[in-house]
Amino acid sequence: MPFYRNIAAKIALLPMIVISLTVFVGCIIYSFVYSLTNSKLVPVMNYVGFDQYERLFKQRKWDVAVENIFIYGFVFTIGCLIIGFLLAVLIDQKIRGESLFRTIFLYPYAMSFVVTGLVWKWVLNPTFGLENSMHMWGMTWFELDWLVNRDLAIYAVCIAAVWQGAGFVMVLMLAGLRGIDEDIWKSLSIEGVAKWKSYIFVILPMLRPMVVTAIVLIAAGVVKVYDLILALTSGGPGYATTTPAMYVMENFFSRANLGQAFAASIIMFISVVCILAPWAFYEFYLRNKYANN
């Protein structure tokens, strides 16, 4: 493709390109350069090689953070998809008061993660939340200590996140379901296919674009999760629910350990690139190649 084609459009895009290059690429380079220094409160050019990275990988806390982001990413994505799809299917059964249910299920999405975090903090708190209420109603066998149990706390975070995100997936899926041609349903019922089978084996594959959209939108929120955890557990008990983003922020602000924060953010950046690169390669290179052939 010759360079001068669509030259006007290219000129129009120039400011954006410049901004992306200076802000994004510039900041990444800046972060990398200073991750090789022992900067504490203020950035100083005091080269120490890869010491910060070495220290980072020795941190028990960083291991916990990385493990948590995988658990959170997996449970949150799958949970939202399954619950969102189920809700969409249920609402699709031509029920009464559909718009009311739709509003109720989508409502959590309108809230900030901080509000969600605080609400669930109260619900899940064993001394004055749901567990306490159940005990007062005489059901003393009831136990719900996820938030204060270091092995389960990250799942409590997932519950709150799914509660917020599932309604959004539901709306996406519902829009997809509404786009399915009536004729397909008619032919399915003539063939005598059970309803659940038709949903899973026929309708779901037809919703592929919706599923992909939902996954992309959810995944973008996974890497940067910070506010929800800060409001819900502040990374505790101990540091059982800390995440890489929290680790970076902590070292940036409260710990006056800039070098370490830069190193951690570069590692975060590299891991995102590692996940995105194969996909981008496929999307922008292979697909074009096959399309051109």
Partner: protein
């Protein structure tokens, strides 16, 4: 068009004149701090009042949370828009700013007023002095070394008020049987490691603590006494409740006030909560400095003054520094804050029984104890605190493992 410009001129010229005339002889100061609770606000407004009585303007930039406030200060200094004054703790938090030459030296006013003669205890001078010049103003002393105890609870179970952690541990099962939480602890990192240091100083004493925290002496660290501190700390944690993780310190103090819990280890700022609840020191509640040897830790707050190109700002900074150490202002400020003043010639007649205890103790130089962050960077204390917090929360984290990990921090050069 001409008319338009003349209108603009008529609007803006007088405005700029008034601004200029206002600035002469009158100083403006923006102060960043994190004192946002009721008692804290009353304290900072004593500074503001004194400043305004001098005919100046006080611009109050209160930011919730010390971390956030300090982060804002550093960002604004680096971004080229520094505040006139900013709060830090008595610690190494602002050393980098001094080393990078970003702070205004206060030596001019400090030597003129003889700060070195009246600042007490002299350890506070060390915090502020770099290469023979003053770079910060200590304004108060806060100590972590306190157990806050509900007297009714101990009366109810028929035990005397404990004076050491050992006595507390001995009585704790009986309190638990009575359906009361023996130890109220808020499960946030700073509360967990704060309590740890109190346990440490009361069990192994300040000299040993100093050789570990300051001198990084591994022999002292490994001589067995530190391990016994860890063991005691773990024992204490059996007596907390499951609602502990993430609980705020003042909610935790409220549990002691209401008699839901027997004891909390917290700094002297907790006294404000008891006072607000209308309780009387040594009658409704006891404040105990645990251990055979009693220490008062030198925590507290300082103000630093970032360098500014504008000479008028420097004048304001020196004037404010001098105001903050003024004995009258110190008395008003510390009475509102509930902290100890940074000089001895201050009127403290309004002090209650607990504060009086601190005042008596601080006169004895041997009872003065430093905190880890007086010697160590925030990165060091945070890494240390992470391990303590994890030790508290993970029962599978053995003392031997913790010792190795802490040694790793000691030798890390952070």
């Amino acid at each position: 068009m001409k008319k338009f410009f003349s209108i603009l001129l008529t609007i803006f010229v007088p405005l700029s004149f008034t601004n200029a005339s206002k600035a002469a002889g009158h100083m403006e100061a923006e102060v960043i701090h994190w004192w946002t609770s009721g008692g804290e606000q009353a304290a900072i407004s004593e500074f503001a009042k004194a400043w305004e009585e001098m005919g100046n303007t006080w611009i109050d930039t209160a930011i919730t949370g010390g971390d956030n406030a300090r982060g804002t200060t550093v960002n604004r200094i680096i971004g080229g828009n520094p505040p006139t004054a900013a709060q830090f703790n008595v610690s190494k938090q602002f050393v980098d700013l001094v080393e990078q030459g970003l702070l205004q030296s206060l030596e001019e006013v400090a030597s003129a007023e003889g700060w070195r003669d009246f600042i007490y205890p002299p350890e506070l001078i060390e915090t502020c002095e770099f290469e023979g010049e003053f770079y910060c103003v200590p304004v108060n002393i806060h100590s972590w070394q306190w157990m806050w105890i509900n007297n009714d609870v101990y009366k109810q179970v028929g035990l005397p008020v404990p004076q050491t952690f050992e006595e507390f541990l001995a009585g704790a099962p009986k309190i638990q049987e009575a359906g009361i939480i023996p130890l109220a602890l808020g499960g946030q990192g700073w509360q967990e490691s704060g309590m740890f240091d109190v346990v440490a100083s009361s069990i192994m004493g300040f000299p040993l603590m100093q050789s570990i925290y300051r001198d990084k002496d591994l022999d002292a660290f490994r001589d067995g006494r530190f391990e016994s501190v860890l063991n005691t700390y773990r024992e204490l944690n059996q007596f907390t409740d499951e609602g502990s993780p993430g609980r705020l310190w003042n909610d935790t103090t409220a549990m002691v006030i209401e008699g839901k819990a027997a004891m909390q280890v917290m700094g002297d700022w907790a006294r404000g909560e008891f006072a607000v609840a209308g309780q009387e020191a040594m009658v409704d509640y006891s404040c105990v400095i645990p251990g055979k040897e009693k220490y008062v830790a030198l925590g507290g707050d300082v103000f630093v003054f970032p360098k500014n190109d504008d000479p008028k700002v420097k004048d304001a900074q020196l004037a404010m520094a001098s105001m903050m150490v003024n004995p009258t202002v110190q008395a008003k400020f510390n009475n509102a804050k509930g902290s100890l003043p940074m000089r001895l010639d201050v009127d403290t007649s309004a002090a209650d029984a607990c504060m009086q205890m601190g005042l008596d103790l601080i006169q004895n130089p041997d009872a003065i104890m430093r905190e880890s962050d007086d010697w160590n960077t925030p990165a060091f204390t945070a890494a240390w605190g992470d391990i303590i917090s994890e030790f508290r929360n993970d029962p599978n984290y053995t003392v031997a493992q913790v010792m190795d990990d802490l040694e790793g921090v000691l030798t890390s050069g952070l």
